[in-house]
């Protein structure tokens, strides 16, 4: 899967309360959640982000609450992929389960600055910073997660197993 867009940089420990504050959990509608994406980290993000853009976070991205609304709001805001130095474990599972591509790569995080054009091959984990011309290889995705991705998310994966 080839993804390309502009990088939006965030720091370490971006928690799920910053990604989607609890005051907006009164809906399960992805379009509504998208309007408040990253609101408590960057108030202007949801209005300014373009389809295909990438979030580049530091370490422990998605820590805190188990709310799946967090990856849903990111995905429905049009973000094509999240690259971070590391992810909190519940966010990590949730992102795969709902079909939001995420990649762990500390070197890419260090080598990408706000506004850089970035291309990603979500299958191989190859990250290209088109602005600087540098390439980075993300950590491989565990085989079980690859099965979930191949099925198109956990819902489809479970349906196939049940079927």
């Amino acid at each position: 899967m080839q993804l390309q867009g502009k990088a939006w940089k965030f720091g370490d420990n971006i928690d799920t309360d910053q990604i989607i504050p609890a005051r907006y959990l009164n809906t399960s509608d992805p379009a509504e959640l998208a309007k408040h994406c990253m609101e408590d980290a960057d108030v202007g993000f949801a209005a300014a982000v373009n389809d295909g853009d990438l979030i580049v976070g530091g370490s422990n991205f998605g820590c805190g609450s188990s709310r799946e609304h967090a990856p849903i709001s990111i995905k429905s805001a049009g973000v094509s992929c999240v690259i971070a130095a590391s992810f909190a474990r519940i966010f990590y599972r949730n992102a795969f389960n709902i079909g939001l591509p995420i990649l762990e790569c500390a070197e890419a995080v260090a080598g990408i600055t706000q506004g850089d054009a970035v291309a990603v091959d979500a299958g191989t984990g190859m990250i290209k910073n088109l602005t600087t011309g540098k390439d980075y290889q993300a950590k491989p995705i565990p085989p079980f997660m690859q099965e979930v991705i191949a099925a198109g998310g956990l819902i489809e994966h479970v349906k196939r197993k049940l079927g």
């Binding site: 928690d15 910053q18 959990l25 408590d40 422990n60 188990s66 909190a88 389960n97 565990p142 479970v158």
Partner: protein, 417 residues
């Protein structure tokens, strides 16, 4: 090679001898969702074409995050949960019954060796009962509701050995805040934590719940303790039986073993806006506060309310402070009423809200204004956590929160003991 507690539980629940790094499919004993996460799980259950629950007697949905509902949209989500519970036959805990984690601890169905998944990150609390319990998202929850199973990667374990005796005025909350400050918010990511040592063994079971509850604040998948008489007494009190203690082998292999002597520990606080931004109280004494909260799945138990009432007795809350009390469950609420604790707290200036998560999760029941400072017994102080990104939150023990509410500024509770 010896096994850690989590390796043993995952071996029992997957039917094979597992070791770190294995991916296993394990059977779950209990599945829980709350009103923030269940609606998405119900949607996912429908999308997966779920026909029935794996076992309705082992599934609970809890209305606690926005309880009673402050908004029409939330009311509709609550109705969705109620109809799902009627349709599937699972247990629904409605408005007023309490915080999901306290209710799960009070089921008698969770004890040593259990495996529990909950769509709430603080599900790790039951680790204090020697159970492997962990937070999951809504789609994972839906898969567990249908299959009664969940896949896990067997994690490495980080062991905390807490030697010595906590001094008077210093509590399990101070200890866990200190440990989180030591290892940081991602110091245990993808790892299971084991808490052991003399100081853990000396703690009441309620004090242990506080420690296990905050394992997620260091990124851990679980926060496990050994089972002892206190563990079994607690489970028996709620009608539970048939559990067997799961102990780590003497030659179990750990990613890290950290030893501390807690005998000289001071009261600790987490400063805005991160739980691992921890400092001894003495460095922060005198900071003015506007609101004090005692409650939540971390510190809303009877022991916590007793500590608060003991300090407040014969005193008044500062007129400049709003003091909010949220008992963690109806059981605790009623007992605190019978013991006269609520009378003490309320007549001295406190306001009791419905047992639930309200003030901690920022949906209602005490959203601070711009520029205000809150001191709370909760487990998170993230920016915006209590509903306002322009407010600041400090986290401390019930004793520290109570002492600070009396003076209107951050105060060492030992001044009142």
């Amino acid at each position: 090679m010896g096994q850690t507690i989590i390796e043993k539980i995952l071996s029992n629940k997957s039917g094979k001898n597992v070791t770190v790094g294995d991916i296993v499919v394990a059977t779950v004993d209990y599945v829980m969702g709350q009103d923030g996460t269940s609606p998405l799980a119900i949607n996912a259950y429908r999308a997966m074409e779920g026909k029935k629950l794996f076992d309705p007697a082992r599934v609970a949905l809890v209305i606690d995050h926005s309880s009673p509902s402050p908004l029409e949209a939330v009311s509709n989500l609550h109705t969705l949960m109620r109809s799902f519970a009627r349709e599937t036959g699972c247990k629904l805990y409605d408005v007023g019954e309490g915080v999901c984690h306290q209710l799960m601890l009070e089921t008698g169905r969770i004890g040593p060796g259990s495996l529990v998944v909950g769509a709430d990150s603080h599900t790790c609390t039951y680790g204090a009962l020697n159970a492997f319990s962990t937070g999951v998202g809504s789609t994972d929850l839906a898969a567990a509701l249908i299959s009664g199973k969940m896949w896990f990667k067997v994690p490495e374990t980080i062991k905390f050995v807490c030697n010595g005796k906590l001094p008077p005025g210093v509590y399990s909350k101070d200890l866990i805040l200190f440990l989180i400050g030591q290892v940081t918010a991602d110091g245990a990511t993808y790892l299971s934590a084991e808490y052991t040592g003399e100081a853990i063994r000396a703690m009441s079971i309620e004090a242990r719940f506080t420690v296990a509850n905050m394992a997620i604040e260091m990124g851990a998948k679980a926060g496990l303790m050994e089972a002892d008489e206190k563990t079994f007494d607690w489970v028996k009190r709620f009608g539970g039986s048939g559990f067997e203690a799961v102990a780590a082998d003497a030659d179990a292999v750990y990613a890290r073993v950290l030893e501390y002597d807690v005998s000289a520990l001071e009261p600790q606080l987490a400063k805005p806006h991160r739980v691992d931004n921890v400092a001894p109280l003495s460095e922060l004494a005198g900071t003015p506060i506007h609101q004090a909260v005692i409650g939540t799945c971390t510190n809303g138990r009877l022991e916590d309310l007793r500590i608060a009432a003991e300090i407040l007795k014969g005193r008044k809350v500062s007129p400049d402070v709003r003091f909010i009390i949220a008992p963690a469950s109806r059981e605790i609420y009623v007992q605190a009423m019978r013991e006269g604790l609520l009378e003490t707290l309320v007549l001295a200036g406190g306001a009791v809200v419905t047992p639930g998560c309200g003030p901690c999760v920022g949906t209602h029941n005490g959203v601070p204004s711009d520029g205000e400072t809150v001191i709370s017994t909760a487990n998170r102080n993230f920016k915006g956590r209590m509903g306002n990104r322009n407010a600041e939150i400090y986290l401390g023990s019930p004793a520290t929160v109570m002492a600070s509410a009396i003076t209107g500024k951050i105060t060492d509770p030992r001044e009142f003991l």
